[in-house]
């Protein structure tokens, strides 16, 4: 017994390690499982927030793609449009088309009387309806004297009611639309004079203070011009800088300093570039405020470091053997870079630039400083026209009191996100298709 006890007290060394390992194994497995769970939890939490955000934005913004229209029988009364009967385009343009709309609404609801009630009745139709009639008459003066049924834009109030964003059961004083207005709208629905259509206005119009007439065309064009300037400036300069620093520049203290600075610039908060743009481009050079030209200049300052860093990474990934082979065949250094290295590095550079441009597209802070936070109705037609950009338009709409702007804000966010996904997708496609690995 004793001897057996002794042998148990001194187990062979191999068994000892095994027990130690076995004892710790459970703990190590648990730690590993725990780590996996943490990772999974983090990812699910992140995904949940993304889903929540998308659901919220799409749920709010989806109705904005539909817009309510009202059909009105409009009598193009010659006495109102062209009392002199000369069909003079100027007289036709200046005529009181709102009177035609008013007459038509009174015809549909003949029992409405009194200034206040009539004002409410006229308020069913958007204030741009007369301009639509004017456009029709100017296109076709033969309309004068005829009676046509015209689909005109409903006011934001009616649109909000149709979309179910106003609680009908509330007391009249608590909702923005009165009982009789609801009764009129119900009449119009019963008569088939009211329908929802795809909202082309959202994509065709500039900004407006009337929600039903507000669109993102102006902001989209502003973003387009701004990004065009940004790309035209930052891509060639960025690529040239990357090529020079990577292939030609001597490695000394100066180039080290420049490299550190470029890396730092990429991390500078974007608002700082806005302040710089205000001081340099507007106050010193006297460029116009609110212009895509200045916006583009500021954003290219912001994008340049990103493109340079991406460009240098792409250049270093080209194997040195290709450079040596080219030089060995008697190519000059410029030929080596231009014919061999740059084409191979281009997909990587383009990917970096597109990602930089996508960042510039979503940027609003630096543009606040240079006056691009502005109400601009006219769609910009050049680089010096006053303009705003998509993220700033979202910011401006989010701050307006009218309820109907909430859905438009979300719709604009959806469009912006769409462009972002498109650009990032393009970057991924470029990388997958053209990038070569050695």
């Amino acid at each position: 017994m004793n001897s057996l006890d002794d042998s148990a007290a001194l187990p062979p060394p191999s068994r000892d390690i095994k027990t130690i390992v076995n004892a710790g194994l459970k703990r190590r497995h648990a730690a590993e499982r725990r780590f996996r769970w943490f990772g999974l939890a983090a990812i699910s939490l992140g995904l949940a927030f993304v889903v929540l955000m998308f659901a919220n934005i799409i749920g709010k913004g989806y109705p904005a793609f539909w817009q309510t229209f009202i059909e009105l029988p409009v009598a193009f009364d010659p006495a109102v449009i062209d009392p002199e009967g000369r069909r003079d385009p100027k007289a036709l343009a200046d005529a009181d088309y709102a009177a035609l709309i008013r007459a038509s609404l009174r015809g549909l609801f003949p029992r409405v009387e009194g200034r206040r009630d009539l004002r409410e009745l006229y308020g069913l139709v958007s204030s741009n309806a007369p301009f639509r009639l004017r456009g029709q008459v100017l296109d076709d003066p033969a309309l004068i004297g005829a009676t046509r049924s015209v689909w005109v834009l409903a006011s934001a109030k009616v649109d909000t009611l149709i979309k179910g964003n106003i609680n009908r059961t509330l007391d009249e004083s608590l909702r923005p639309i009165s009982d009789q207005e609801i009764a009129w709208v119900d009449r119009l629905i019963a008569d088939g004079r009211l329908e929802q259509r795809f909202n082309t206005i959202l994509f065709g119009n500039g900004d407006s203070r009337e929600p039903e007439q507000a669109g993102i065309r102006g902001a989209l064009m502003g973003s387009f011009y701004t990004l065009l300037i940004t790309f035209l400036l930052s891509f060639p300069i960025g690529v040239a800088t990357a090529v020079y620093l990577e292939e030609f520049a001597p490695k000394n203290r100066w180039t080290d300093l420049i490299e550190v600075n470029i890396n730092n610039l990429a991390a500078v908060p974007s608002i700082v570039f806005g302040l710089l743009g205000l001081a340099v481009f507007i106050n010193f050079f006297g460029l116009p405020r609110s212009a895509p030209l200045v916006g583009g200049l500021v954003l290219s300052l912001m994008t340049l470091p990103v493109i340079i860093i991406a460009g240098r990474a792409a250049l270093t990934s080209v194997p040195p053997s290709i450079r040596e082979a080219a030089l060995g065949m008697g190519a000059s250094k410029l030929q080596m870079v231009g014919h061999h290295v740059l084409p191979l590095a281009m997909p990587g550079m383009l990917t970096g630039s597109i990602i930089g441009m996508a960042r510039a597209l979503g940027e609003s802070a630096p543009l606040l400083m240079i006056g691009m936070v502005a109400f601009i109705v006219d769609v910009p037609r050049g680089f010096t026209d006053p303009a705003t950009v998509l993220p700033v338009q979202i910011y401006l709409w989010a701050d307006l009191p009218e309820r109907a702007f909430v859905e438009r804000t979300s719709a604009a966010i959806m469009v912006l996100l769409g462009f972002m996904i498109l650009m990032n997708g393009l970057a991924i496609v470029l990388r997958k298709r053209f990038e070569r690995r050695w």
Partner: protein, 348 residues
């Protein structure tokens, strides 16, 4: 390579020519200034642009009142704005700055009033607040009951402030110090609410500046929550937090009457009629300022001013009243319109 160079050169020349062109003649009106006036100014700009096909629609920037005057007073010339919106009258220092930069003739146009409301969720019982209650609840330092000495604000609930009020935690969402609405709230509520306390009165006698600072200082211990400049955000927070009060412009109350209610201040509820009649105590006038030297240079300035002061825009039942502007009384409006159309300048 050569071809590319030529194209680049042409592009650069084109861009420069475009810039030069834009600077020599601006054919649209440039407006800057208060974010409170922005919704009204933009509405008029849009109406003006639609009604007058020969003029471009003015550009309206939202820079805040102070920022607007800084730009406006930068000088005379097309690169400076023509009109500055303001949610308060121009200050003496700003006028001096203007004069220093050669902007001598300025036309002041009063367009109406804006009410500042203190609102809560519709689901709670309204509180009958006075400006004194509000000051006691929000001031950084209040007089100690016994001694009257100013000490750090000890009040936690509204009941502590005034026994008639409910025992809710004091929680007020309001604009940050950079906002014109905050300035107006301090001036119209805080400065008025503190007046009757003996401690403040004594301080007033000895050191007016200190008294003003004591009245206007808002507590920073979490009872007053700076909610940013976005008033829609405050409205949303009120809906989810039943005990909180929010401070914002009247137009946001009007748009959200189904969710929130305006609290009566000193017994007067914030309604359109009360503000227009001058009964509601927390309301302020809104202005825009015109650079007279630009009127002859920028096309459409005279017409734009005429549109803004017309009866159909800022008049009693004008389209701005639909956007939440409280119009001026009728005789005052007529006077303002006449002065504005006659370009009557401010006395230097």
């Amino acid at each position: 390579m050569r071809k590319q160079k030529i194209i680049l050169a042409i592009a650069a020349a084109g861009a420069l020519a475009g810039v030069a062109h834009a600077q020599s003649a601006r054919d649209y009106i440039s407006i800057v200034g208060s974010s409170t006036v922005y919704p009204f100014s933009t509405t008029v700009a849009e109406h003006f642009g639609k009604a007058n096909a020969k003029f471009k629609t003015p550009k309206v920037e939202s820079t805040g009142t102070g920022g607007g005057f800084k730009l406006f007073c930068g000088g005379v010339g097309v690169q400076y704005p023509d009109i500055s919106n303001a949610s308060r009258a121009i200050k003496k220092s700003e006028l001096e700055n203007c004069a220093k930069n050669g902007v001598a003739e300025i036309v002041e146009v009063k367009i109406g009033f804006d009410g500042i409301v203190i609102a809560s969720s519709k689901k709670t019982k309204p509180m009958a607040l006075t400006r004194k209650d509000l000051w006691l609840a929000l001031a950084k330092e209040v007089p100690e009951p016994g001694t009257g000495k100013l000490t750090a604000n000890p009040f936690k609930t509204w009941k502590d402030v005034n026994p008639e009020l409910p025992a809710h935690k004091i929680e007020v969402l309001g604009p940050p110090p950079t906002s014109g609405t905050r300035d107006a709230f301090v001036e119209l509520v805080m400065d008025e609410g503190c007046k009757d306390f003996p401690a403040i009165k004594e301080l007033e006698k000895s050191d007016g500046k200190k008294a003003k600072a004591a009245c206007g200082a808002i507590r920073e211990d979490g009872a007053y929550i700076e909610a940013g400049e976005n008033d829609n955000l405050i409205v949303n927070k009120l809906v989810s937090n039943l005990n909180a009060l929010g401070i914002f412009g009247f137009s946001f109350l009007e748009e959200n009457l189904d969710k929130i209610q305006g609290e009566a201040i000193d017994g007067v509820p914030p309604t359109f009629e009360n503000i227009a009649a001058g009964k509601y105590p927390v309301s302020r006038p809104l202005f825009f300022y015109v650079k007279k030297a630009h009127v002859a240079v920028i096309p459409g300035m005279k017409e734009f001013i005429a549109e803004f002061v017309s009866q159909k825009a800022s008049g009693n039942e004008g389209y701005l009243s639909n956007k939440g502007l409280i119009p001026l009384p009728k005789d005052q409006h007529t006077q303002v319109a006449a002065d504005a159309n006659g370009l009557k300048t401010l006395a230097p």
